[in-house]
Symmetry: D2
Subunit: 343 residues, 4 copies
């Protein structure tokens, strides 16, 4: 923490700040500049709030410097984290493609789409059993039945599955039936859920909240890791801005920003960022070119009949096109699009 | 929903859209303009996604018109909702002032602050027992012990209390010990929690999420009301923007916007919006002048020792000043700052 | 500037940063903390870019501390700036109300509205002769003719006038015909215009840009003041956010934020913030309660025939109501709504 | 425009709206839905403001449908616009790379950098002679001398040049000395400058404003085209959001959004979006993968001595790496990175 004093702050005022700092067992380092004095603070900064000093006489501004993350940080773990989910590698050089319908609507639909995405080279099947919907009058997902369908399709098609746990009441079920537990953007700071997810025994995909900074995303991951779960993959899915040509604004730069600070893998969800099908392929390619370790993308064979978000789902032909593009793109980016032997 | 066709869209393309609309049991109303055709859709719009039409040949744009809220809407309930919590009126002409520490830290601290706020005319005691904190390494609240302290202080001082339920695992406890259940900004779209809160038997204070639109806030309230709970009070607590002189940007206009659409009361939380003590009084007065039905404000007698957010808490003297200002302001705004007989 | 080193940065890396700092004639102050070292920099910081150090080995983060404004700052001028425009005080305890049509449309319309606002206690007549319009096909203002109308109405009604100078080509004319030169939100960083406005011989009203921070607003004012013009009044008119219930989001907190840092007066424009008439009065009162030194508000007697922004203009009856409210509010806020003797 | 009536609006209220519409020579099309009536309006919508109807009895909401752009629209010009600048193609399949220092600092520096970027395959030299700087105390550019240096280097190295015209007072000079006139983000809605740029006889590169929607960007281009200048290239350079890991948030999706609506080419400026050197290459590749027609990128041989924005400039080695990556990427994206014969 750095406390910047006003130009006309006198020695007593500087002294008073130093005292408050030292009362807390921290150390104050006054730096006298040409025009003003600043006071650096070292020690276990976490316990003081910057605004504490804001109103003290002579204080102009308080600046936070602390870096509160530990386990997620490259300072603690230099190499990229790589882990395997049912034989599929996440992180490192390999790209991972998770695809499927927004919602699990029926066994037939899910099976059909799973076959399509597998045939085109996707590695993991996504599909929502519990759906977070803005309105209570929208389709809320099949629930438990959806989980069972996913498990059955997983068996038949041989793809690991990922689905969202909306809250702690369904977390165990979700963990039981699926390979990766997804925590959605609206729950990124549902700290109770994060802690439990840290003990659920499954890898966790954590989506960035619509208005979360990269620091907040990493601290949310820190909640999961702090409970002993090291298998966390982050997901950039667009942030909320004034821009109205997409549902959210895909913040591509968050990908290299995460890679700089953290060892955790990060993938992108171009479907929720775009909101419109025609922007899904360009955003997918942009995310990968920007360093994304994979994609989470919606595919539907009959989007016009989808019970949620049909308009942003790629058609099978669009998904094929996307995978073909990725196949060309990967080597140029020094990445690999793995083809696993059919299980 | 309104579908705007391209200028060169031909009759067949218009026809195709009409067909898709009618297949879903809805009605299409083509409007031929000078330059282009638009197609209005009526019926149970909720079941179609706008993006469905986005890619159809000849379609330029799809515009949503639907108003998905019911129970929260003034169209369904014209008069302002007013309800009582342990003798304190919320909504209508009376202003309600909820004040207290960010976190319940000890019995002594809570009692002391409760006495101060009561002496200055506050109506409800706030204090967090479960704290949502960005970092897992920050103080997370006293939990159950905090609830017991609140209940004890409630008894002794004679003020109803409000505290936050972080998730469904503590909701029943919170409802048992307190008069109003608070749902925090980070949980505004924790739909599982919203549904349970709708059945918890207590009034609910619902804070606007940091990146939530007014429509989304109202739909979150709709989740609570849809479960039978009509006692919902909304809270504007600042949105996330690029502006960096406050922690969040208090969106005063959300208050008249809510009042226009909904019958529910809405109060403001100037403390979390400001982030800095020196802006709490101006934002409080601004919110009230803008039509807020009350305030939720942090007060601490020793903010420099507070375990969370001390820098944004008003000192007792600052809270007294605020209440004096409100006492002058209320009649000018045709509002009343009630003084209840001591219970 | 403060340079934060990585935890594993070694002495050589710290040394290298110190060297780069000193090469530029600045002074480096290393602060060794428990976990990492930070390096404070003092001297004429303006000449180094923070990103300079970003890529040096061992550097984690570079934090800017500099406060680049001088003339606008309370550190250089402690008292509130107050100045007079044709007998009307701006700044200090007195509120100033500037009102009138969005655009000057005709002599009759302008005269009529000027009489209405004067009768209700406004101090300054506003009206656009040159209009910044998003589309080239919208009404662009009457130009020179509009200025002449304003001057004529000024004479007849006895109110000073304010109008916008869209760019340097019309600045002199605007300065010739009006009492205050307005620089619009879209021009807040038109530095050529700012510099010339600093030499135009008239007070300048400078609107905050839609995405400008308070720091940027103050630095824009610094451009004007740096040319010798000390009569600058700032204007908060709403920022662009995701919120869609108003055209812009009135950032009330910017008002106390400016008052804390700067001695310049700041008023609010509730009309452009709201975008809709029904929110103009609540936002006006909120701004004043938040500390605004006045208002810039649109009034039209026939808004349904207005050539621009009719929907956000108050009707004469609405303006009367607003002024009545302000008359009640001002004393409660320890402000004065002056009534000048008719000139 | 679409006017949505309240559920309890009666026939008279609908009638009243229809009347107001027809008084203006427009046509009203009432659509009776199950729950409410909506009224479509056709005709020359440009002349009515939506807010006009907002306060009429029975009106719930007014929705704008109009598409105010003409010349920039694909509806008016279906094929991609492609034009040549001194032999360099902009638009279509070919990528165009504009590179160079943020500011022209000296003849030697500019020459040196021009040679480096040319050797690596860039097509156009960028460099600022007039610099828009947030603070009046920052380096403001060499002005006329900078233009002369650019012209001299252009001659010697054989690359066309682009530089910014800060306002109309220097536009003619800029147009005289350079091949493309740049209009910066802060001037995107400097309509006086846009109009003059439309008559300056040079192609115009128009940067998106920090808080501009795609619609506003296109309408700004419409200002230029409306004056007869068809050679406009747009530039996405990042928007202002709450995200703090980059200076601005590169809105990659704006690129396909522009391509969908408009025939104009659009390139990206990863340097200003990033603000930090280490994110320039990932953002460059992301923009190209997302469909960008080229890049505008900062390169400096001694960024630590740069007079502006040194920290975001690529070093020569970084630029070489970028160009090598693009060379690999282009064919995968079905684009061409042209190599022109040395002039």
């Amino acid at each position: 923490m750095l406390i910047v004093m006003k130009m006309d702050a006198d020695a007593k005022q500087v002294e008073a700040v130093v005292e408050v700092v030292e009362e807390r067992g921290l150390k104050a380092h006054p730096i006298a500049g040409a025009q003003r004095t600043a006071i650096g603070i070292t020690g276990n900064i976490g316990i003081v709030e910057p605004a504490l000093f804001q109103d003290m006489p002579g204080v102009l501004e308080v600046i936070q410097v602390s870096h509160p993350y530990k386990l997620v940080s490259r300072e603690f773990h230099q190499e990229d984290s790589v882990f395997e989910v049912a034989g599929v590698k996440i992180g490192g050089t390999d790209l991972v493609i998770m695809a499927g319908p927004c919602s699990v609507e029926s066994y037939e639909q899910t099976l059909e789409i799973a076959k399509i995405i597998k045939a085109n080279g996707a590695h993991i099947l996504r599909g929502g059993a519990f759906k977070p919907r803005t309105s209570p009058y929208s389709f809320q997902g099949l629930g438990r039945e959806g989980l069972e369908i996913l498990a059955r399709v997983r068996q038949e098609v041989g793809l690991p599955v990922i689905t969202e746990a909306l809250d702690i009441d369904v977390l165990d079920e979700v963990a039981e039936f699926t390979d990766i537990v997804q925590i959605g953007a609206r729950n990124m700071q549902n700290f109770t859920l994060l802690k439990r997810a840290g003990r659920c025994g499954r890898p966790v995909l954590l989506k960035r909240g619509m208005s979360a900074t990269v620091t907040e995303l990493l601290l949310a991951a820190e909640y999961v890791m702090d409970q002993g779960n090291e298998q966390v993959v982050l997901c950039e899915r667009g942030i909320r801005t004034f821009a109205d040509h997409t549902r959210n604004t895909l913040d591509v730069a968050a990908i290299p920003a995460v890679h700089r600070i953290s060892h955790l893998p990060i993938i992108a969800d171009p479907s929720h960022a775009a909101g419109y099908r025609d922007k899904v392929v360009p955003l997918s390619l942009a995310a990968l070119a920007g360093g994304s370790d994979g994609l989470l993308v919606e595919v539907h064979d009959h989007p016009d009949r989808a019970l949620s978000d049909g308009g942003q789902a790629l058609l099978p032909a669009g998904f094929k096109e996307l995978m073909d593009e990725i196949r060309g793109l990967a080597p140029v980016l020094n990445r690999r699009l793995p083809e696993y032997a059919t299980s």
